[in-house]
């Protein structure tokens, strides 16, 4: 079933938790709502579930206004962050709860039992049906919560920070397993997370949220490779930011030209975003942006170097071969081989992907006092 959120806004005590959010989730899609805490992702999920009602805007389930039906009849399977298992009920009674609560076409006891056993098998908890929630581990509780939500054959499955309270190993196992369940059952699924790795690995599509708004909604590859806004760029992966000025199709830092192919960006201030792999150290004595090394640390087979450049000592991080002996206060030169420039556009951001290499003369930098300490 398709879920469509149309221009939804929601305020709490004067604070905008959601401002004019629109989103369409296709049938059978697995979508992650990703963002820092307070970005509105949980509010959006609860609004889709009908647990919160929007101040304005509408949530459609397959072109039908979902608010026309009571929450009981909406058919959402909601998995709560802390599971919200009924602690006085055994696992089987928890899972059977929704089936027993049905008014119309309430299944027979035998059918309910059969369905519960199927679900227990699906979530790999067969044999634990007589336990109470307090007798289960965190991962097992999570799976009971999911089975309980799946029992009512929901039209859409919503999970709030499904792996938030679990330790790292269990989390990885459950992630893979949730993906499998999704492929088998084919429910339209949304889950909330603040863990980018989780979102990128698990979801068909990632919706990045910030301050009650959607920053970008795209596939994991697009999110990483063509982030739509500076926020997405800096929230996903590692990044360095340098403020530059654009004029006459060229970017300048401290009135010195950094030779970049800027493309169609408008003139004015802009931000240069770089991932560590977008920066290469110049080792052949060729031209490059000069800087001073302020720290190095070992990351796997590489050495992550932080250098300062420009009058305001902007920091750039890049990876160098671990074999190179790089020390603090050493002078280095780097060449920009990728990254993105975000300038102010008509609406939101105009962005250009960089392909060119940057060149600059070590000597002028020295003369301007870039490297004086």
């Amino acid at each position: 079933m398709q879920v469509r959120v149309a221009n939804v806004s929601k305020n709490y005590a004067g604070m905008a938790a959601l401002s004019d959010v629109s989103l369409t989730v296709g049938s059978g899609e697995l979508v992650a709502l990703l963002g820092p805490s307070g970005s509105g992702k949980t509010t959006l999920l609860r609004t889709i579930a009908g647990l919160e009602s929007p101040d304005s805007g509408v949530v459609y389930f397959d072109d039908r206004d979902a608010s026309e039906s009571r929450i009981q009849d909406r058919g959402v399977g909601f998995v709560f962050q802390h599971y919200a298992l009924f602690r006085h009920m055994r696992v089987m009674d928890n899972i059977a709860f929704g089936l027993r609560a049905r008014r119309k076409s309430k299944p027979k006891d035998g059918d309910i039992k059969k369905r519960v056993m199927e679900l227990l098998d699906l979530v790999q908890l067969s044999g634990l049906e007589k336990r109470f929630p307090s007798q289960l581990s965190g991962g097992q509780r999570q799976r009971v919560a999911l089975a309980r939500a799946l029992a009512i054959e929901p039209r859409v499955l919503l999970l709030d920070e499904p792996f938030g309270a679990l330790d790292a190993r269990v989390r990885k196992d459950l992630r893979r397993w949730l993906r499998e369940i999704h492929e088998r059952t084919g429910h339209t699924t949304l889950f909330v997370t603040h863990d980018q790795e989780e979102a990128l690995e698990l979801a068909d599509r990632v919706v990045v949220m910030n301050r009650g708004q959607i920053e970008q909604s795209a596939t994991p590859d697009e999110i990483y490779d063509t982030p739509a806004t500076p926020f997405v760029f800096s929230f996903i992966g590692e990044s360095s930011v340098i403020p530059v000025t654009i004029g006459n199709g060229r970017a300048t830092l401290d009135e010195r030209v950094i030779d970049l192919e800027i493309g169609r960006l408008p003139d004015g201030p802009a931000q240069l975003f770089l991932r560590p792999e977008d920066v290469a150290m110049v080792t052949d004595g060729g031209p490059g942006i000069p800087g001073l090394v302020v720290s190095t640390r070992r990351i796997g087979g590489m050495r992550r170097v932080t250098m300062e450049c420009g009058l305001a000592r902007h920091r750039i991080e890049f990876d160098a071969s671990a074999e190179l002996a790089i020390q603090n206060s050493q002078r280095v030169q780097v060449r920009i081989v990728g990254g993105r420039v975000y300038g102010a556009g008509q609406e939101g951001y105009a962005t250009e992907k960089l392909a060119a290499s940057a060149t600059a003369d070590f000597k002028w930098a020295r003369a301007e006092g870039w490297l004086d300490r």
Binding site: S53, S56, S67, I71
Partner: protein, 293 residues
């Protein structure tokens, strides 16, 4: 059951009444309506009756009763004895809470349970028991009078003892949970920073407990001011000496002096409301203090 939870307005404007956050759970109207109706009938209506009676007295009559020497003496005794009892209860209540939370010794559970005795024991029962204990020929009364020369039973001091009995659990039960919550690591930090035990207790633990201690004191005091049942047996109820304000209300009622009873009750109520207000402010303060909000 209330209206359907989700009602986005067609024009996109926020829905009208914003005095409550909408919730998907049903029964708000029913439960709140019943609560308010019951509250109004059982509490507000009778209290309004008192307010009307007090208002119909007129200032002159009201002040004449309030400043009647016997009434003043009774009010002074009620508030003074309650204050004294609350002070003693605060000292010993904190001590008892400390011992119950921090130390392990045989019989601790029994002691912990016994603290609630004044909550559960009817005041009349407590009253005759205390009167028997502290009477001049009673087991405690005789010792106190013969050895220390102090007369507790059938005197103003007896009032204080009765109020100590009824007020003690308020201090213990307010302080105890806060003491349990105090992070022992802060004490350990204090010790590693070189503070002695006394310094740690007075500078680190007590300040953290202070709001709770104040609240317990106020609750004990408020209970003591209004207490009646346990006091009238142990005090000999002589005007100007050991006659408490609630007893004077009963006496005025027996004399069919409704105006007098109303005036004394009003004074006590006003003070009780002020106390209640202070308690709530203190509680808000203590919550903020511990970062619960």
């Amino acid at each position: 059951m209330s209206t359907p939870a989700i009602t986005a307005q067609p024009d996109g404007k926020p829905p009208r009444a914003k005095w409550r956050r909408r919730s998907v759970l049903p029964g708000f109207g029913l439960s709140l309506g019943y609560t308010i109706a019951y509250l109004s009938l059982i509490v507000l209506l009778p209290l309004a009756g008192l307010a009307i009676s007090a208002a119909s007295l007129g200032w002159n009559e009201f002040w004449a009763i309030a400043f009647d020497p016997r009434v003043s003496a009774a009010l002074q005794l009620s508030f003074g004895a309650a204050m004294l009892a609350a002070v003693v209860n605060t000292v010993f209540g904190v001590l008892i809470a400390w011992v119950l939370v921090r130390y392990r010794f045989p019989g601790r559970r029994w002691l912990d349970a016994a603290v609630d005795l004044p909550f559960a024991l009817p005041t009349a029962v407590a009253g005759i028991a205390l009167a028997t204990l502290y009477a001049p020929n009673g087991p405690f009364g005789a010792v106190l009078e013969n050895v220390f020369g102090v007369k507790v039973g059938f005197s103003a001091l007896g009032v204080v003892f009765a109020l100590m009995f009824v007020g003690l659990p308020f201090v213990v039960r307010t302080v105890q949970p806060v003491l349990e919550e105090i992070d022992r690591e802060t004490e350990e930090v204090s010790a590693t920073l070189g503070a002695g035990r006394f310094r740690t207790v007075t500078r680190v633990i007590l300040p953290a407990m202070f709001p709770a201690i104040l609240t317990g004191f106020a609750l004990s005091f408020a209970r003591g001011v209004g207490e009646y049942g346990s006091v009238i047996f142990i005090a000999n109820n002589l005007p100007f000496e050991s006659e408490i304000a609630p007893l004077l209300i009963v006496i005025k009622l027996d004399e069919h002096n409704y105006a007098g009873a109303t005036a004394i009750a009003t004074i006590m109520l006003v003070i009780a409301f002020v106390m209640l207000f202070v308690i709530n402010v203190l509680q808000a303060w203590s919550r903020k203090w511990f970062g619960h909000e």
